[in-house]
């Protein structure tokens, strides 16, 4: 009986959260025009979630490209197909690894700090103070962070992909000795601008950016105003973002391919 009640609660809670999240998205979108008065705040957030995440994105992209190239070289050498290494590295990074890994890193690096910051603003009554001063916290706090995430993700993803290709080239050509011309010409011949770069990199990372930023600001904005509540909300940002990214990835792939 208790289990039944508990399960009902989890189900209704989850559904309620998803519904609140959707309504919150509408409120953010409604607040976006008003947040244009605080454009500089958006730039500051872009600096914080985007530019400050560059290091981790670049290093991770480099290593993902390197390990992909290394693994593929050894598998493809069984079939004598090492010339395809560049192609497969590029397609794997553009279509899946680039957007997904960037989004996961983005959720961990930027999503959590957004949640914690907004949660603490709520806990320390800064948001209440803004409302008292007739400053709309949705337009001044939430919308700039959401927009910044939306803009930063595709840019970060492009940087990640470029670094991944560079890492793949470093291992494949410089270390394992695949011919440089073969590496590039095979890649160029197979990778398609619309299919791989626009559909893979741009649309996916835009969608992931929207989802991660929405979850981060939502969890922060609705976090219980206690230290435990903020900690819990931060955890939930990472968990919910990761699940949302991977599930959305499947759906988007099915649609875009």
């Amino acid at each position: 009986m208790n289990a039944q009640v508990g399960r009902d609660n989890i189900v209704t809670q989850s559904l309620g959260q998803i519904g609140d999240c959707g309504l919150f998205l509408l409120r953010i979108l409604a607040a976006v025009p008003r947040s244009m008065r605080h454009a500089l705040e958006t730039v500051r957030q872009l600096w914080f979630v985007g530019a400050m995440s560059l290091t981790i994105i670049m290093v991770c992209g480099l290593f993902v490209g390197m390990v992909l190239s290394l693994q593929l070289y050894h598998v493809l050498s069984i079939f004598g197909g090492t010339a395809a290494t560049g192609t497969v590295v590029a397609i794997a990074i553009y279509r899946e690894l680039g957007p997904v890994v960037t989004a996961l890193l983005f959720a961990g690096r930027a999503g959590t700090s957004i949640t914690a910051e907004i949660g603490l603003m709520r806990a320390t009554d800064q948001i209440a103070a803004m409302e008292l001063m007739a400053v709309d916290p949705l337009a001044y706090v939430v919308a700039p962070r959401f927009l910044a995430g939306l803009i930063a993700m595709p840019l970060l993803c492009c940087v990640f992909c470029a670094m991944g290709i560079f890492g793949g080239h470093l291992v494949g050509v410089t270390w394992l000795g695949i011919d440089n011309g073969t590496f590039w010409s095979n890649m160029t011949a197979t990778v398609d601008v619309w299919q791989d770069i626009v559909n893979g990199v741009i649309w996916k990372s835009l969608a992931f950016g929207a989802v991660v930023s929405l979850i981060a600001v939502f969890q922060g904005f609705t976090a219980p105003p206690t230290s435990e509540g903020v900690a819990y909300a931060t955890t939930r940002t990472v968990v919910a973002s990761s699940i949302a990214i991977l599930a959305l990835d499947f759906v988007l792939t099915a649609f875009l391919m």
Binding site: L46, A90, L155, C158, V159, A162, W184, I202
Partner: protein
């Protein structure tokens, strides 16, 4: 104010870096160059079968890309595909009697339209039509050609039978073609295991018109193409005497097992699997 400026500059740098990365991905690692087309003109070509040809597939002359497939549509009221080729203006001098064919790049690659120049003095105009086309060859049709389409055997009148013993016939089956110089001259009439010699005794029914085959000719079990099925090939010898009904061909070459061949290529191929003849025919028997 100075701090504000520093992050504004940093953010600007970040955005520029992101777009630079995007430009790099789009121009250096992808086929954006292939998409870029200057002025182009359209030429029609009609095919009875376009196979796997897709829109935006390349159009090539002598292997060099000169344009792309713009659209593929069924000609209204006719079972032919109307393919519009968008060709770069720089290559405006295609002779009117050129042949457009659908080729496959490599064994498993994508299909493209290849144009072989004719000798006409007039050129195909924009909106014109390439009248001579070669359609895509479905794999089934090609395999059918290897087998003589089976129907050839039905037309064979009188036959005479010779036998040949093989240590391994692979997946050869009754009804498989017997070929000489690649041409079907008969078919496999029966396959039996020889209880004394412990090998496979294959009876070949050969058309009576081919009764001048030297009796020292050899018979081999070959595979048509990479993945086709097997047939018996006869390589003529030099003996003055000819094969007669009921005689046996002494010189035979058994089927090569794909596993053996691949095993030879691969260093790590397991040599213990060599007697593949038994294992390839038994799985059906083992429930």
């Amino acid at each position: 104010m100075s701090q504000r400026k520093s992050y504004a500059v940093g953010t600007g740098l970040f955005i520029v870096l992101g777009f630079a990365a995007l430009a790099y991905l789009a121009t250096q690692t992808s086929s954006v160059a292939n998409r870029h087309q200057g002025d182009s003109y359209t030429v029609d070509a009609q095919f009875t079968n376009v196979g796997q040809l897709k829109e935006r597939a390349p159009v090539k002359v002598a292997g060099v890309r000169i344009g792309q497939v713009q659209s593929i549509e069924l000609e209204p009221g006719k079972p032919v595909a109307d393919v519009k080729l968008s060709i770069d203006k720089r290559y405006a001098s295609i002779p009117a009697d050129s042949v457009a064919s659908i080729f496959t790049s490599g064994l498993l690659g994508d299909q493209y339209v290849g144009i072989e120049y004719g000798h006409a003095k007039t050129f195909v105009a924009a909106g014109g039509k390439l009248a001579l086309t070669h359609s895509s060859q479905p794999l089934e049709a090609m395999i059918g050609k290897f087998f003589g389409a089976g129907g050839v055997n039905d037309n064979i009148g009188g036959t005479y039978q010779v036998t040949a013993n093989f240590t391994n016939i692979g997946t050869l089956s009754v009804g498989a073609p017997v070929k000489m110089a690649g041409v079907v001259i008969g078919q496999v009439a029966a396959i039996q295991a020889d209880p004394v010699k412990l090998d496979a005794k294959v009876t070949l029914a050969i058309d009576d018109t081919f009764n001048k085959i030297p009796d020292d000719s050899s018979a081999a079990v070959f595979t048509s193409g990479l993945i086709g099925s097997q047939y018996v090939a006869i390589q003529p010898g030099g003996s003055p005497d000819n094969l007669k009904n009921g005689e046996e061909m002494i010189l035979t070459q058994s089927a090569m097992q794909l596993e053996d061949l691949i095993g030879k290529f691969l260093v790590n191929g397991s040599p213990g699997d060599k007697p593949g003849s038994g294992s390839s025919s038994t799985p059906a028997g083992k429930h």
